[in-house]
Each structure stands twice: as C-alpha cells, then as structure tokens.
Subunit: 459 residues, 2 copies
C-alpha cells in the first residue's frame, strides 16, 4: 500500500500496472499479504489509536463550532467498543473466504484439441471513495487483495460533499495506511496495488480516469453515491436510495405481520433495507392493519397515512393512538425517510401494489406478507427489485445474512451485480482457448469443411 | 412491436411498462411469439423485399451523388443471396435456445423455513441503435423476446453519425416492423415490448433516458460505438476497437504459425477479431518470421515492420518480397487497420509481449503461438483481454464458434459481460427469500439469539 500525493492520473496508471501483477498471484500469496496486514495492524494498535484520538479532538472541536455533524465525529472514532477488534477480525474473515479468482464457469470442447474455458478473474482497478470511517481502509485493502483487484482509496475524512474545501485525509487514515504499506513490503503484493490518495480536491479528476479505473465503489451516504453516480462514466457499484415497501395482503398471519413490519421498520431505521412504505390491501385495513399500527406507534414510529388507512385506523385505534396519525402527501411515497417514519397507502389488489413498487420504489428490497404461495410467487416475479421477500423482514437483504462473508455494498444496478455484493461482484471473467493450430477457415458448411462439436465439458 | 413517432421519453416509459409484463411470461409464450413472427415474415416476403428494393434505388442514387458509401448500400440489401433465409432461420434458432430466464444460480438455507434463491431475470429495457442492416430488426426482436427484455430500436438507416440530418428510417425497416407488429397482436407479448422509433434526430434524447433504459447495444461501426459510449450514462455493451495481437514465440510449430497467422489476418480483415499486430520474439526473427511473412505477402498483406524485423526479413526474403516491406511508425501499434495491413514488432521476452498487449491492445482477443504449455498459461493469465488464445486463430472469438447460438456483440467491458455475448449477457438476477415470519432481531450473538445456518442447497 502506498500513500500518494501524485497526480491522479499517475496514481491510476500505477494502479493499473500493479493490478496486472496482482491478478496473476496465487491464492497463497494474496492470503499471506492479509496475514501480514493483520499482524502489523495488531502490533501498531497504540500508535493508530493515538492518531485517531488526535483526529477526534479536532473533529469534536469542529462539531462544537458547528462545521461538522456529531454523527461524522462518531463514525471517525476507532476507539469505540469492539470497533478495532472487528476491523482486525474482518481481515482474517476475508482471508478465510473461498478464493474468487480462477473459478471455471464454462468449459466447451469446440473440436478435438480445441477447448474453450471461461474463468473468473479480477476486474482490474477499483476506486473507493469513503467517508469518515478509518476502518474502511483495512476492510477495502483486504477485499481488494483477496479478489486480486488494485484499489485506489480516497477518503473524504471530515469533508462533506459536494464542497471539497475541507480536510480529506485524517491522521488515522494515514497511520493505518503506513502500517499496511510497511506490512506489504515483506510480501509479493506490489505496494502500489493499494493506494491512499492524499492529494486534495482530486475526486473529480479521479472520476474522469475511465481508461484506468474500472469500477467505483462509494462507501457512504446517499448523497455521496448520488453525487458520484452523476459525475462519472466509470460504472458505479451501489445504490443511492433504499426505498423498500411491504405489501400486507389480507391472508397474512396477523402476529407475523406485526413482527415482520416492526422489525423491518424499527430494527435499524437508518439502514437502506428498512421499510419506508407499507402498502395495505383494502381487505386488511380493519383486520391486520390496526394491531400493526399499534405496535409501530408503541415503538415511536410516525405513521403518514392515506385517507383510507387513516379512516380505518381512526375507527379501530384508541383515541390516544389515532390522534397522532399523520396525513401522507404524495411525496411521502417517494421519500426514503431513513427514520422512524412510515408511509401507509391503501391498494385494492396485488397488481396495484406491484405497480406502485415498480414506479415509486428504488428496486432495492420489497416484501409481501401473505399466506398464499401463488400470490407470493407472482409478487416476487413481478416486482423488479434486487431482493423480493415473502413473509420475512426487508432487513434480511444483507451480505452477512446471505452468507457472503463480507459485503462491498448493496447494488440496485441492472447489470453486473445486484443486491448484496460480496467478492463475486468484484470479478469478471475471460475466455481461454487452448488449441492445436486450428484455424477458422477450416470450419463451415462447404464440402470438406469441419463442424464445431460444442460439447459441454464438466468443470 | 410498434412503430412510434412518440416523444422518446414516452416510448421509453411504454417500454419499461411492457418489460414488466414480458419478464413474467412463461417460456412457451415467448417462444410462441417467435413462431408468430417467423410465420408472418415468411408470408410477407414479397412486400418487404419490394420496400427494400425502393430503399436500394434511393440509396444507389445517393451513392452516385457521393452522399452515401457503397458499403452502406450493400448492407441495406435484403435481397442478397441467403440473407432473407438467414434472417428467418435466425428467428427459429433463437427460439430453440435454452430459456435464459428463471435459472437458479444459488440456493442457501438461511435458517429452517428461510430460504434464499438467486434467479436469473431480464435486465429490463434495451436500446439498440443500428446502422443500415434491416435484418437487425428481426434479429433483435427475437433476442429481446426470448430473453424477456423490452427493446427500443432506433435505426440509422442511411444516416452517418455524428450528423443526424439524414434519413434514419428506411422503408424496409418500417415494412419489417409492421409485419412483426401485426404478428405480435395475436400473442400475449405486449406490442410496446418492441418499438421502432421513427422520430427523427432523437438519439441524444434516447441516450439521456437512463431512468428507463437499462442497457444500450450499438450494432454498427466502431465510430457508432465510440460516439455512443461517449454520449450516455447508460451502460453500453460492445466494443469500440478490436486491436488484437499475436505473440510468436520461438518454440512455435512453424507450419502452424503460418496457418494461424494467415487465418487471423486474412480470413476477414474487417472483422474486430482479426489480428492487427504481430509481436515476434527476437529468437523467432530469422526462423519463424520469414515463412510467415512470405505467406502474408502472398495474400496481399502489407507488413509494417519495426527496424529489427525489417532487417531480418530483408536478409531472409527474396529481393522481390523484401522490397515491399514498409516501415512501421509508433501509431501503427495503436491502430486497428481493419484491412490487409499488419504491424510487426520485435520483443525480447514474453513479459515484453504481455506488457505491449496490455498497454496498446483493446482487451479484445490476443493469442500466443508456442510449444510451451507453462508459457502459454502465463500469457493467458497475464494478458488482460476478454479472449486469450493459445495456438489458434484470434478469429475463433465469436459467439457462434463458442456455441452460444447467437451473439449480441463482443464486449470489451470490464463488468457484466465480456467477450462474445449471447443471451446470458442480457440477463441479471434477483434474490428471492421465502420465509415463515423470521425477523432480523432474532439473529445475533447475544444469549437466546439464533444463528444463520448458511447451508448451500442443491439447485
């Protein structure tokens, strides 16, 4: 790993060059590098936490001056209970994952002695733009090395987009990077495979380098992702919005409906996979909705109801509860509240629910609660989202819960990788052909011409 | 299929809407639509060829006036031997391919009664921008319907980019589209699933509709692809350049070297998978290169040689041959000649060859000719191209030759799909979770908390 204040184009060229070496290293060499990073970081805990403490002092002062939000200060803190240990454990977890490089996914005998093979390989150069969390550096370095991709890291530190004037690199970023850099010196992974760019105000330049950088991964707020998606031709992996919905159909189990909706809304309201819109079938308004609403209100959720749902709840709920119901306006159904606010809308059929989700949702994760299997299958086929779930929480959409070991992010893209993205999302493939001098002119439909065999081989 | 002169945004919205219906149709419904198209086109041969003849008359006149190239006139001609039959056969070929929709590619038991499944589904809405070939309409309509994607087709007719003033739709485009449209009326495939946009000068507007259009597929010249790649945020599938190289190592079989290099260069010089640069190992200069050069010269190939290769050939070849050798300049190694011109460069090692290809190539298809298996494997791992081939022609890189049945194009992208792209490249996936009321709050490391099982299930 190197810290560089080189020109962005030079950093990107160096990364492309290093990516070619990294792509050919065997599993053991990449795993050994992760071991070396783990050991070095363990041994340097005191100096890194000291650097982090200096960052925190400065950040707290900025928060007092009102130039920085307290949540950014909190994210910066590497001394928080369990954070350091989680960071170190994450490196070993990634090391233990199956090697995603070199997996054969197709093998065809084109002809005698002419074999085609499709084999997974790294994408090339990743650009990771991340907000205040210093542990992202160790996390991304591990993922990149494991997957054979070079990575350029650009921290936003305590800067807030789209203003670039602030402090983009903090002392903790630099301290962690220096330790990783020194650790890599003892390995065969090129030091320029992972670079922390410390040059200021270069994000627009980095985003323009599509001839060297193959994929951008923003790690941070919706605002960060939205800014990046609108500022580059390089493919961006991630999602700007997580506007998830639940459709409550009248045959759903009442107790389950309460549990699942409460979990989807309240277990982590700021998460992208939390529910934002509850679509209630008309036939559920007076039966299923009232206990769900009571449970949500008891958890402090604000309900923004359309006229029908508000009317039904006003009749069914205690006056104490119904008085705090709010009126939804149209914008509530297009808003990712990221807080304890839930929009409630009445729909007459599953078709209307599906249509609402496909138009107003963000294609992230949407759920149906019903006892009807055919209805659930119809919903899951028709809703155009990365995740479609039946009788469970929208918050299940998560790389760890899916068993992917780690997660680069959750993608709402329509190509390459969708939903929670693990190491597989950092891979592409190449076709290898091993021949014995065959030429295309020998094959064809004329007399004396050969035909391709196209025999699928096991792999 | 509909012909529309609607606003681009309305066409795109209609396509998005139709894509949702199309995505849920069973295999049989999509295949039946292809049968209906095939029957209808067969029955309308005379009127379509008559329309095409009128286009040809107008195009020939334009060619005489010097406003149109003769190659465009030739591409427009649907009456050329075998072209009509190939177009019709293509529809049935696509119909017979395995259904790419609904394939399960991962199945995990997250917990008892909580199953995760990853299943292939269509991407959504494709925008196909195509040059003069009218048969592309039937071809793309088949591929789109088979893969469950809606498609917006925009023909350039006899217009040449980047000037939009010309005639973008020809009578043949309209005639074919009308027949397909009428055929689809009798099927459950929505007519707006396939739309031919006849509105003039709307390509820039279409390319701006990234909220409705998920993928752009340009079918035409390098110039067309390059223009489109630089004009849209929508992902583009394809390649602008095909700068393929062959590395001739000194242990290569001499007779094989001649055959393979001649095939790679001369079997279709205008194809993207033809070789443009021959990298000759120093040790091959006086042994392998001269017979290769003789064979190429005999086929009319112009050799643009660096100093070392020219010197070696001047000594070894007959004066008659050596006098026609040309001097390469640096730009020859960055040029896709697309003609009977080959750049020849001397390299001292495989490392130098790999480095040259990674820097100067277009990451399309590159070959090594050698008797050494370890060297070949090293080359194939290290060259960062969609196709890496050993002891066979670069021209093997082709969807038909790979056994994919059909080909949307050859991609040099680093994400999603690389190399020859068949129906699989038009698919993405979604995650489906089928639960029984499980919530995320039940799982964790605290006492009484459950753990995920993450058991791989067969599929």
């Amino acid at each position: 790993m190197s810290l560089t204040n080189a020109l962005p184009v030079d950093a990107a060229k160096a990364a492309k060059c290093a990516s070619r070496t990294l792509a050919t290293l065997p599993t053991s060499a990449r795993n050994d590098a992760l071991t070396a990073i783990h050991v070095a970081l363990s041994q340097s805990k005191d100096e890194i936490l000291a650097a982090n403490a200096r960052d925190l002092t400065a950040a707290k002062k900025a928060a007092e001056d009102g130039t920085l939000s307290l949540s950014l200060v909190s994210r910066l803190d590497l001394g928080k209970k369990g954070k350091w240990e989680d960071m170190l454990k994450g490196i070993l977890d990634v090391r233990e994952l199956e090697d995603p490089v070199g997996k054969v996914t197709l093998r065809t005998k084109l002809d005698e002695g002419l074999d085609l093979e499709r084999v997974s390989c790294p994408i090339g150069v990743l650009l990771i733009i991340f907000e205040a969390r210093p542990e992202v550096i160790a996390n991304i370095a591990s993922l990149a090395i494991k997957s054979g991709n070079a990575a350029i890291l650009k921290g936003l530190g305590t800067t807030r987009l789209p203003k670039y004037g602030g402090k983009e690199s903090t002392e903790s970023f630099v301290a962690i990077s220096k330790v990783i850099s020194a650790a890599l010196e003892s390995t065969v992974v090129p030091n320029t495979a992972i670079q922390l760019v410390t040059t200021r105000d270069v994000i627009p330049q980095l985003l323009a380098l599509d001839q060297y950088i193959d994929l951008v991964i923003p790690r941070g707020s919706n605002e960060l992702v939205r800014y990046i998606k609108s500022s580059t031709r390089i493919p961006v992996l991630g999602h700007a919005d997580g506007l998830c919905s639940i459709y409550l159909e009248h045959t759903a189990d009442p107790e389950m409906a309460v549990r699942v909706i409460v979990d989807s809304k309240t277990s982590y309201p700021a998460a992208c996979n939390s529910v934002e819109t509850l679509l209630v079938e008309e036939a559920s308004l007076e039966t299923l909705l009232p206990p769900v609403a009571e449970a949500l209100l008891a958890k402090g959720v604000s309900l923004r109801c359309d006229a029908s749902s508000k009317k039904a709840l006003t009749v069914k709920l205690s006056p104490h509860s119904s008085v705090i119901l709010q009126d939804a306006d149209e914008s509530d159904f297009d808003t990712e509240h990221l807080s304890l606010t839930l929009a409630v809308k009445t729909v007459s059929t599953v078709t209307e629910a599906i249509s609402h989700i496909n138009i107003h949702g963000s294609h992230h994760t949407d759920a149906i609660l019903t006892s009807s299997s055919p209805l659930a299958e119809h919903f899951m086929s028709s809703v155009d989202s990365a995740g479609v779930v039946w009788n469970t929480s929208t918050r299940m959409a998560d790389g760890m819960r899916f068993g992917f070991g780690t997660e680069v992010g959750i993608s709402t893209n329509k190509i390459h990788a969708r939903g929670p993205v693990g190491l597989e999302g950092l891979m592409i493939y190449k076709y290898k052909i091993r021949g014995g001098g065959q030429i295309t002119a020998e094959y064809g439909e004329g007399s004396g011409q050969k035909s391709f065999k196209h025999e699928r081989l096991p792999f």
